[in-house]
């Protein structure tokens, strides 16, 4: 399986509407793949909140409307913030029936107030157990951070360093919400507390954005990127309930399945895109995947190992933190950015000699998880 084309809009508050963003990336990815709309045998739309934000459900059917195609095969994927990653894995599994497939991830979030958006996004959590108790996602992240930091003696400065590193990368990425914006350690440390202990700069920002990726079983051009392996699975919806609230074995399970499929080990990976919806998540995920020992990634963060020029770069284009987090598009943005890195087209964010790249995307708190390994075609 190969990625034969991809495209993304600039993330952030956009004047473009849902349809316009979608159209932009569909056209962009077709152009990147050098194919026409009628060449695509199936589309998958990844979106989370359009029912609330645009009063529009069945959004997948907008795709044929935009392209003026009848009889288009269109599927949709909805898995909270993990929708795009799940859509990508789904597309890979459908390639035996449809080839090529375009996956489109879109989210429009800037047209509602923060309190509304927190409520809309909150519908991705368990209605009875969590929503009614006011457990908005930053609060869930904060509770996990509170326990994890205490157990492994992680400091607020460690979290700030993760945020700083991602902002340093995002500042250079023209597609990132925080492109060209200088964010300092002091700004992060002095930012207001959102849900203790997490501060504003520990949380990814609501963002408008779209990404499209086209995949195929057929190798066409040198720039095509190999999909070495992809895997997705889901776990119980409620964040809390089990005896150990910071047992993240679900992450390890997915990573094991993925590396087994790929015939690789974590040490074989050159760079990673980790779903840093909250700064603590980058730490937890990278540890439970096996990139670092559990409880020990703080040392790598402090030593700068995960920076763009470090030993193991993570979120080289800014992550969710600095790129922005349009829910239904973020997982595809990770894939698109890794593709650019492998192709050597990541501009100022380029990391040298990237051969194998890893993406990890999740919906709710580690509930719908997908992970993918991309490889340079040699």
């Amino acid at each position: 399986m190969y990625i034969i084309g991809s495209s993304q809009t600039k993330f952030g508050n956009s004047e473009a509407g849902f349809d316009e963003m979608m159209y932009e990336v569909i056209e962009g990815s077709l152009s990147d793949a050098h194919i026409e709309p009628h060449d695509i045998e199936a589309f998958i739309l990844s979106n989370n909140l359009n029912y609330y934000t645009e009063n529009q459900s069945h959004s997948s059917a907008i795709i044929p409307s935009l392209l003026g195609i009848n009889n288009a095969t269109v599927f949709s994927s909805e898995a909270a913030c993990g929708a795009a990653g799940v859509a990508f894995t789904k597309a890979c599994n459908l390639l035996s029936s449809y080839d090529p497939i375009m996956i489109v991830g879109v989210e429009k979030m800037s047209n509602h107030s923060t309190s509304d958006m927190l409520y809309f996004v909150g519908t991705d959590s368990d209605r009875e157990l969590e929503q009614r108790e006011g457990l908005i996602f930053p609060a869930a992240g904060a509770l996990i951070a509170d326990l994890y930091m205490k157990k492994y003696k992680i400091t607020l400065k460690d979290l700030a360093l993760i945020s700083l590193k991602n902002h340093d990368n995002g500042k250079l990425n023209p597609y990132a919400q925080f492109y060209g914006k200088e964010v300092t350690l002091q700004m992060i440390e002095e930012s207001p507390v959102i849900c203790s202990p997490l501060r504003l700069f520990d949380c990814s920002a609501n963002s408008d954005g779209a990404v499209a990726v086209i995949i195929s079983n057929k190798y066409r051009r040198k720039s095509d990127i190999k999909i070495k392996a992809t895997y997705a699975t889901s776990f119980d919806l409620a964040t809390f309930g089990k005896e150990n609230p910071i047992d993240f074995s679900s992450i390890t399970y997915v990573a094991k399945q993925l590396f087994k499929k790929a015939g690789l080990k974590p040490k074989d990976i050159d760079i990673a895109e980790i779903h840093d919806g909250f700064s603590i998540m980058e730490m937890i995920i990278s540890e439970y995947i096996g990139f670092f020992e559990i409880g020990k990634s703080k040392y790598s963060v402090r030593n700068g190992e995960t920076t763009r020029k470090g030993k193991f770069p993570i979120n080289t284009t800014g992550g969710l933190k600095a790129c922005g987090h349009p829910l239904g598009a973020s997982g595809l943005r990770q894939i698109h950015d890794l593709k650019r890195q492998i192709q050597g087209k990541a501009g100022a964010n380029q990391v040298e000699n990237v051969n194998k790249a890893f993406a990890f995307n999740f919906g709710s708190i580690f509930k719908s998880i997908s992970a993918t390994i991309l490889e340079k075609n040699v």
Binding site: L118, E130, R132, I136, A139, I194, K242
Partner: protein, 274 residues
């Protein structure tokens, strides 16, 4: 409150009638209801940003571990330190008021109330006689006077979840819509043993001397609550926040530990009121 399958030990945090894992074996009584009473605070966060359903900030969310080693979260306006042990004594009260604020869906409020008083219902093995004379098909112009079929259905199905047997004229109860002449009084019975409770909607409460064991189901649309009603067991649903505050100010109801001054759920004894 959660259910555990006695056979395969699977825990259900959601509302299921039979164990989904063992259902093929036809076991009706696989599920055991757990109502934890002792909680330890494991972690907490203070939320400073309002969201549409939780506009009053800051509030705290605590992560609790119960005596069965399961964890759950609760919203509270109180500052509970990590390690604090909380006992939920209220479930043993003889008289109670249970209230739920309903913003969007009335049925959700009813379910929540039944959950709150579930321990009482399970322990007392109550029998309910439900007066159907006030139940009508839902229609907007009737809402101020009648309890809707949907409401009564929700009450009954929630009670069935607590293993109460519901019958209508000695037949198994299915739903209100299928009952041909719902105005016949007291034909619908939710049976177990022991005490007898009755569920009425507010407009049927006319006498000053109501039975102690009556559960009054009071609809949120009725704002004039007579004093004698407070002396009885009360299930109360409202969307009116001022009315909640009025309840608190009367001194008849104390603040719930988990909800503090934001009166979302109130559940307390009435012994001081008598």
């Amino acid at each position: 409150m959660y259910k555990t399958c006695k056979k395969c030990k699977k825990i259900y945090w959601r509302n299921v009638k039979n164990c989904l894992k063992c259902k093929k074996q036809g076991l009706d009584n696989t599920l055991e209801l757990f109502i934890p009473k002792k909680f330890k605070v494991l972690g907490s966060t203070t939320v400073y940003i309002p969201s549409k359903e939780h506009m009053k900030v800051p509030y705290n969310i605590v992560l609790l571990k119960d005596e069965y080693s399961h964890t759950q979260i609760k919203k509270t306006f109180k500052n509970l330190k990590i390690g604090t042990i909380i006992y939920d004594r209220k479930v043993n009260s003889n008289n109670f008021i249970a209230c739920s604020k309903v913003k969007y869906i009335e049925e959700a409020g009813i379910k929540r109330l039944i959950k709150l008083v579930s321990s009482k219902i399970v322990r007392k093995n109550i029998s309910l006689e439900i007066d159907l004379s006030n139940c009508k098909q839902k229609a907007s112009y009737e809402l101020e006077y009648m309890m809707s079929f949907t409401s009564i259905n929700t009450i009954i199905t929630s009670l069935e979840d607590l293993k109460c047997k519901v019958s209508f004229a000695e037949n198994e109860f299915k739903d209100m819509i299928n009952i041909k002449y719902p105005k016949i009084k007291n034909l619908l019975k939710v049976e177990n043993k022991g005490l007898t409770f009755k569920i009425f909607s507010i407009n049927n409460i006319s006498t000053q001397k109501q039975k102690k064991n009556t559960i009054f189901f009071i609809d949120y649309r009725f704002y004039k609550v007579k004093n004698h009603i407070y002396k009885s067991n009360l299930l109360f649903i409202t969307s009116n926040i001022d009315l909640f505050r009025k309840f608190i100010k009367t001194g008849k109801v104390n603040e719930n530990l988990f909800y503090g001054e934001e009166p979302q759920i109130i559940f307390e004894e009435l012994k001081n009121y008598e």
